[in-house]
């Protein structure tokens, strides 16, 4: 049921077994799962059914993007253009691309500080399968071949250094027609789910000892307040608002809730693409027809990106790295003296040209972080956020190493030649349209000293507070985060259901 909070009497008490702050993709998925399991669920959504400028303005803040050797850039607009504050959340904007994280993304890697998840890809696989089902996709198997139905057409399985990774597009997003409307209605129409619209959670109120959530403060833009009470609470507000709310709820714990280890808001990770079509190209000794699996058609049919293999990442102590081929375009440069000479020498029967872009894993960095601007508050009285997204020398060195490795492997195996003309001082300019991926700010760790939530997404030290969404990712890999955050939401739902039965 959809309920306008404005229709409630002032100071209403909203009650359920579970209260979920945030009606985005994770919140909706959990509401349905828990409702199906017999929980009475209340969802507290800041926005209405449609976009509203005054509501969206609650996201306004300050942001910078920095990397060693490159000018720090102002990206304030990113904070309100990269997400949507209304029912369905940023799923209303999502492009639909789905991919699971790679097995190595979950591992403790000695060359990447703060890496390692408390769960493995194998343990998450069944949850990934359920996330795929929810999104109307076939499952992602563990091997690329099982998804793509063919071997790697670029290196033809002769490389131990590079492999392909599949991606698919879901139609269950606001970017495509009506499917996302059905996704949202499935929660709104659930008999055990109440979705309160225009209901902003502005404070998490703890018990006196700080060990339990007592209630949530709910506020309308008009200033009217309500209170939500439940046995369990889940924050599903996104990778920026989850830490914002926890940092702002500082009346019991002065550093904010879950910030015992000073990780709250830190290790913000995003995804950026690196490339310039004028100087980032491939000349391949492959006929164009063989490369169609790399074409991104935005259909449910899988397409592939090239990636450093798990083994090569271990061997070279590199972060994850992908190469995405752009679809063939009339704008792709055709002058190709390098490719023609290479083709003559290798006697390759065909030659084709593609532009491309690279992505390198953004690794956990304590200086890449969200803080609150207590002297700049939004219409609800909440301190606005400041996001300082930072890359480190580790990622940039790893990027250079991976690109060089890729170029060498293309040549060694007679696959083609690589052109890459981006200078390090250009990077933040090229990265200035990061993907709408916000990860890492309430990171998952077994020990309280290493993170904010435990392996079940429960906030360390608070017995009935959980977090859903990509803010719990300890590391970000390169895969688009929605599929993983939904898999983790299902896993959290299973945990809550099992806990009730225990």
């Amino acid at each position: 049921m959809l309920i306008q909070s404005t229709s409630l009497a002032e100071n209403s008490l909203l009650e359920g077994d579970v209260a979920i702050a945030g009606g985005g993709m994770a919140g909706i998925a959990l509401a349905r799962q828990l409702g199906d399991a017999g929980f009475d669920v209340i969802v507290l959504e800041s926005g209405g059914e449609d976009a509203n400028a005054a509501v969206q303005d609650l996201y306004t803040g300050k942001m910078t993007l920095g990397a060693p050797g490159s000018e720090t850039r102002n990206l304030d607009a990113y904070l309100h253009t990269s997400r949507a504050r209304r029912f369905g959340g940023s799923g209303n904007l999502w492009g639909g691309k789905c991919a699971p994280l790679d097995p190595i993304d979950f591992e403790k890697r000695d060359w990447i500080a703060y890496s390692g998840w408390p769960v493995t890809r194998e343990r998450l696989q069944s949850h990934y399968d359920r996330a795929c089902e929810l999104l109307g996709l076939p499952p992602f198997g563990m091997s690329p071949e099982s998804v793509l139905g063919r071997r790697d057409p670029l290196f033809t399985d002769r490389s131990e250094t590079f492999t392909v990774r599949p991606r698919r597009y879901s139609r269950a997003t606001g970017a495509f027609g009506t499917e996302y409307g059905k996704y949202k209605r499935a929660a709104a129409d659930h008999p055990r789910v109440k979705v309160y619209l225009n209901a902003n959670v502005t404070r998490v109120s703890l018990s006196g000892d700080g060990g339990r959530v007592d209630s949530l403060e709910v506020r309308e833009l008009s200033g009217r307040t309500h209170r939500a009470r439940a046995r369990r609470y889940i924050l599903a507000l996104g990778g920026i608002e989850n830490p914002r709310l926890l940092l702002a709820s500082n009346d019991v714990h002065s550093n904010g809730i879950g910030n015992h280890s000073d990780w709250l808001g830190r290790a913000f990770q995003g995804h950026t693409t690196i490339g310039d079509p004028a100087t980032t190209n491939l000349s391949l000794h492959r006929p164009a027809a063989d490369l169609q699996v790399f074409n991104n058609g935005q259909t449910a049919a899988p397409h592939a990106v090239v990636s450093t293999s798990d083994a090569a990442q271990r061997r070279t102590h590199s972060a994850n790295f992908t190469v995405t081929l752009m679809n063939p375009s009339a704008n792709t440069p055709t002058s190709d003296a390098v490719g023609i000479v290479a083709q003559r020498v290798t006697r390759a029967p065909a030659r084709s040209r593609r532009s491309l872009y690279f992505m390198t894993e953004h690794t956990p960095n304590r200086d890449s972080r969200i803080t609150l601007m207590h002297d700049d508050r939004d219409a609800l009285g909440m301190p606005r956020v400041r996001l300082d997204m930072r890359y480190s020398a580790l990622e940039l060195d790893s990027l250079d190493r991976s690109i060089r490795l890729f170029a060498a492997e293309l040549g060694r195996l007679d696959v083609g030649r690589l052109q890459y003309g981006v200078r390090r001082e250009q990077l933040t300019e090229l990265m200035s349209q990061p993907s709408r991926h916000h990860m890492g700010t309430t990171r998952m760790a077994v020990a309280a000293r290493d993170g904010v939530v435990d392996e079940n997404c429960r906030v360390h030290g608070v017995s009935n507070l959980y977090i859903a969404g990509s803010s719990v990712f300890p590391t970000s890999g390169i895969a688009n985060p929605t599929l993983t955050l939904l898999a983790l939401a299902f896993r959290l739902g299973d945990h809550l259901i099992a806990e009730r039965g225990a």
């Binding site: 003296a337 390098v338 000479v341 290479a342 020498v345 170029a407 060498a408 040549g411 690589l418 890459y420």
Partner: protein
């Protein structure tokens, strides 16, 4: 750098140094004939060759020049160049020319072909 036809090459270099733009002639010369073709922009080849020379390369292009010359009549010479190139990539012996990663041997090929006359 060792040359194939020193007089022609010297003349070409002089013209190039003077900023004279050379169009690819209509008929390829004997020493480079199998390499040059209509789809290969000679000026681009020259630019790559100059860039390689300016970077220093590893200095000696004699082996590559001889293989290029032999390749006019001997397919094994192409295979030998191919092996040199693959060995370069396996050892990550690469240079950057016009932002392209190419093997050191390929850089030498551009230097030699860029100096071809016809």
């Amino acid at each position: 750098m060792t040359t194939m036809r020193i007089d022609r090459r010297r003349a070409l270099k002089l013209l190039s140094a003077l900023g004279v733009t050379l169009a690819m002639p209509s008929a390829a010369g004997a020493e480079c004939g199998v390499w040059l073709s209509e789809d290969l922009e000679f000026q681009a080849l020259q630019a790559l060759g100059r860039e390689y020379s300016a970077q220093g390369g590893d200095g000696d292009t004699s082996e590559v020049a001889a293989l290029i010359a032999d390749a006019q009549t001997d397919a094994a010479a192409i295979a030998s160049l191919h092996e040199l190139i693959r060995a370069d990539y396996a050892a990550a012996r690469m240079v950057r020319l016009s932002h392209w990663f190419v093997s050191d041997t390929e850089g030498k090929i551009f230097a030699v072909l860029g100096a071809c006359t016809t």
